[in-house]
């Protein structure tokens, strides 16, 4: 879906783990962008269990909710990649709390 410019692929990278697999991430991109590049989706919905992918990339749609470093319901578009970060899709469960 997305490919890096030479500036990115030759720039600094970190290693993150996407559902257990180590992958290279470009410093500056977010966990949502890594999910888009590698799996194409971030979550499945709790009602119809349809797949969703990051939509706005700026924190206002919540379709990027994923599990980051073990913490569910995290807006992955607001999480810049860090070395060793674990990223996983969030399947169905409705875990958003404190409403």
């Amino acid at each position: 879906m997305f490919r890096p410019l030479p500036d990115s692929s030759e720039g600094p990278t970190v290693t993150v783990f996407v559902e257990g697999q180590p992958v290279e991430a470009y410093v500056g991109e977010t966990a949502a962008s890594v999910l888009l590049r590698h799996l194409g989706t971030a979550r499945t919905t709790s009602i119809s269990e349809s797949p969703r992918a990051p939509f706005c990339m700026m924190g206002c749609c919540f379709d990027c909710l994923a599990e980051i470093d073990g913490k569910g319901s995290t807006q992955s578009c607001l999480e810049p990649v860090r070395d060793g970060m674990t990223i996983a899709r969030q399947m169905s469960a409705r875990k958003v709390v404190a409403r």
Partner: protein, 469 residues
């Protein structure tokens, strides 16, 4: 410590206001969701504007201008807190001796409370959500989202890439993509075909800023010269596919068309971010020209709640240059309200700011006319509320059953109760209510926004208890 001002947002308006307030020796804290200054328009500007960066060249001069503002901001002495999510803003009780605000923040999983005498919301805008069949499919995202991927990770979309919508942003993005060697299968223009005729009355005003006009025309000419496929008068867009986008379908006055698609980027203009001011029950007004709400502000940028200011696109969509001017004006207003600026000096500073703002807004009436919010009928099967997966049909049914009250429709259907709190569905729900009751959109209003402004986990709340104890 109690800061003189807490600024929320480190885009053009927030950075400019921080610099100006610091120049008057006021203490400033800046809370921002992003890892680095710039907001969305100048996102990644420090990272991208390294010497020799091709990306910075291709993103254009207006983008590179952000590097200078970010540099001044870094040096201005404000307490800058990136990666901070504000989830609640409160005014201290009436018994407090002096007015004070509390801003509740989550940063790295920890809750904090920031106290300040004044609050400036410089929280920008979001893209206007316009539902169509298949807009929830993976593969469909906004033009703004794709541009963020470009600015923050240097990433270009691939697969047959389609851009559909209207406004300066899709044109700019298409232009940037082409310069960077990206491929675009086609540009589907949803602006009405009679734009030139409708735009004419606003042309002479816009000519005050002829440079911006010339730039827009140059982008279009460049895309034409590159042989980009362009369809005009596009309506009834559909995204189709099984588990993800595979193909798109659209109509023009000439008939229906279809094409394979890997990525569909959509954009129908911007709307101010109003959730915090709505939750604080500030007065808002409906802009017919921009088909969106905005907080009511006085000449100094102050809302109807004393001590709470708004600047930048959150006060109405006017672009980055205007946001800088609005940041300056809000800083003048705040300094005046804190009695560090005399009335006469404040008026003088305001006159200069007003002039800059009026110049920066010169093309706005033209742009608002050329790219109106789409009015096409939303069919019953289209998902409107992305969080709760509610269709237009379900909302129409609820809207017709009782009063024209967005809060009633919200509690009956759950539209707006998901984590996005109606940031995606709010305007569409209000529009469907207006249609059902045959009343002007301005009279419908918006559902009530309750804290938290962003979901907060139990663990994060618990950390607040500890911070306070």
């Amino acid at each position: 410590m109690i800061f003189d001002t807490a600024i929320i947002g480190a885009g053009p308006a927030g950075m400019q206001a921080a610099c100006d307030l610091r120049a008057r020796e006021l203490s400033v804290i800046v809370l921002d969701e992003q890892p680095a200054p710039g907001g969305q328009i100048w996102r990644g500007v420090e990272r991208n504007c390294q010497p020799g960066s091709e990306l910075a060249q291709r993103l254009g001069a207006e983008y590179r201008q952000g590097a200078g503002v970010a540099r001044s901001f870094r040096a201005c002495g404000a307490d800058y807190r990136p990666l901070s999510r504000v989830w609640q803003i409160e005014e201290t009780g009436p018994d407090a001796t002096e007015q004070c605000w509390q801003v509740f923040v989550i940063r790295e999983g920890q809750a904090e409370v920031v106290e300040a005498r004044r609050v400036l919301l410089a929280i920008g805008a979001q893209e206007r959500p316009v539902p169509f069949p298949g807009w929830t499919h993976p593969g469909v995202m906004t033009v703004g989202a794709a541009q963020i991927m470009l600015k923050s990770g240097g990433l270009l979309p691939e697969g047959p890439v389609w851009i559909c919508g209207a406004g300066p942003l899709p044109l700019l993005y298409a232009h940037q993509l082409r310069k960077l060697g990206g491929q675009i299968a086609g540009f589907l223009d949803t602006a009405p075909r009679d734009t030139v005729r409708r735009g004419l009355p606003h042309l002479s005003g816009a000519l005050r800023d002829w440079k911006s006009l010339a730039k827009g025309l140059a982008w279009q000419a460049g895309l034409r010269a590159a042989g980009l496929r362009r369809e005009t008068g596009v309506r009834q867009l559909r995204a189709e596919g099984k588990d993800r986008l595979e193909r798109i379908r659209w109509e023009t006055p000439e008939g229906e068309k279809t094409a394979p698609a890997g990525v569909l980027l959509i954009h129908e203009g911007l709307v101010p971010s109003v959730h915090p001011t709505l939750s604080l029950q500030c007065e808002h007004t409906w802009s017919d020209a921009q088909q969106s709400l905005r907080p009511v502000l006085d000449a100094w940028g102050e809302t109807t709640r004393r001590g709470l200011f708004v600047a930048g696109d959150a006060a109405g969509i006017d672009g980055a240059r205007a946001a800088l001017a609005k940041g300056t004006l809000a800083a003048v207003g705040i300094a005046r309200s804190l009695d560090v600026l005399s009335e006469a000096k404040a008026k003088q500073a305001r006159a200069a700011g007003d002039r800059a703002l009026s110049k920066a807004r010169a093309t706005r009436p033209l742009l608002d006319t050329l790219y109106p919010a789409p009015e096409g009928k939303i069919s019953d099967d289209v998902i409107v509320c992305r969080c709760e997966e509610l269709t237009a049909g379900q909302i129409r049914a609820a809207a017709g059953r009782g009063s024209a009250d967005p809060n009633r429709v919200k509690s009956e259907t759950r539209a707006g109760m998901g984590p996005c709190q109606g940031r995606q569905c709010g305007y569409t729900v209000a529009r469907l209510i207006a249609e059902a009751h045959d009343m002007p959109r301005a009279e419908v209003g918006f559902h009530n926004i309750r804290p938290p402004l962003k979901p907060v986990s139990v663990g994060e709340l618990a950390s607040l208890g500890k911070a306070k104890a």
